[in-house]
Symmetry: D2
Subunit: 135 residues, 4 copies
């Protein structure tokens, strides 16, 4: 199992410009914060869909790597995304991920996305990763 | 809001042959049990996919009607289903549903399905219902 | 590659009670007909959701086995289903499947479902199968 | 019905920096090209997931607006995305969209994404838009 410190260090080296912070990091729940900036916003004052989808995908990746280690070749095979409410513009967004399944070749994660400070989810995602066979 | 007793009575009159029992019935969680019988099984000793998908859809329907009343015309518009593990043959299956969104014209529910007695979900679903406009 | 005759024979021996007929059977398109009977119908005169979902899943299975042979252990891992229109009650339903991907461990198929005689699809599905590693 | 010229003009004024070109524009098929640039790429030489997901969403939006006119309030409610193959880095990506359903309050579109010059799709999406009631 990867520790929170190892994950943070790895993330920094792999995605130096990413505006993510790993907040929760346990078997039951991974929470990743995305620091929302101007360029993430859409006209009308809301966080863009791609920003949320990328965060959801990242949260599943973090939850998966926590269990299997830094397997660079794990790739997303599907992402099912539901937009539930308009996120507010002046708040970070948080993704909470639970792994529903961790099989030998497939992992499935479920993600709820929140505007920081709000209880009702703004989006929900279910994503699947393909895990390469061990050599 | 519909009471548990009203829901059970309505269910019995609408779906007299259904083998469902409403166990939990709160805002945060709806649990519906399906009493598994021989005809629900697949060769190899497992509960069939359609049995699980129908239960998931039903659980969202129950969660939705609890909030909006017995609106017969609410219809499923999408069901996204992930099969996670083989359910065991000799146990009932339970669906736990949370409504992620209840809008004026759309509701989104999330469902985890379990074999009775097991903690790991055997399937997960996200479904959408269209709610007819009020006349 | 499996021939149409081999597929029909295999289907008959594996699913003797199934009311399916394989109509089209080429690399580009698989069409499976489901002979609708009384028990497939829902009040209001329409084909039930589970009947359509089962047919969609079957059509992907047929398209997949056509390519990889009779691998009994290929299992559905996800099914994403959209209900588009009410199918009519007095017509068979037809599922047309295209394989979007056939990888070593994953296959993805897309299915449109029609009421026989109608041009507008009544439902659409995307499903994923996990293919067991070759021994 | 919106003409191709009207759509192109509207797009330019609404999304001046977008690198999209509308190629096909008929009832049966909408094709939108995304001119891939350095910033769309991922390490390993492939087009990023968010770039493809945004293009898929845009193609459905174009197909929908073509039918209903420039209704600014149509919003994506779900996007189901399957990653099929690695797109190549040195080619544009093209999204071909078909509207599966155009109802009063919901539209469903299906999209295949290709690397320009390749026949096998690199991704597939099904998305749903909510259409605001007419005032």
């Amino acid at each position: 199992m990867v520790s929170k410190e190892e994950m943070i260090a790895w993330f920094k080296s792999e995605f130096p410009q990413a505006r993510y912070e790993i907040e929760d990091f346990t078997t039951d729940s991974i929470i990743v914060r995305h620091r929302v900036e101007e360029r993430d916003l859409r006209p009308g004052g809301t966080v863009s869909g791609p920003t949320m989808m990328t965060l959801a995908d990242t949260a599943i990746y973090v939850a998966l790597l926590r269990q299997i280690g830094f397997v660079a070749l794990a790739v997303t095979t599907s992402l099912n995304f539901n937009f539930l409410r308009k996120p507010v513009a002046n708040a970070d967004i948080l993704a909470e991920c639970k792994l529903l399944k961790l099989g030998r070749s497939l992992a499935v994660g479920e993600v709820s996305i929140y505007s920081d400070g709000d209880e009702a989810p703004v989006a929900h995602a279910v994503g699947t990763y393909s895990i390469p066979p061990k050599r």
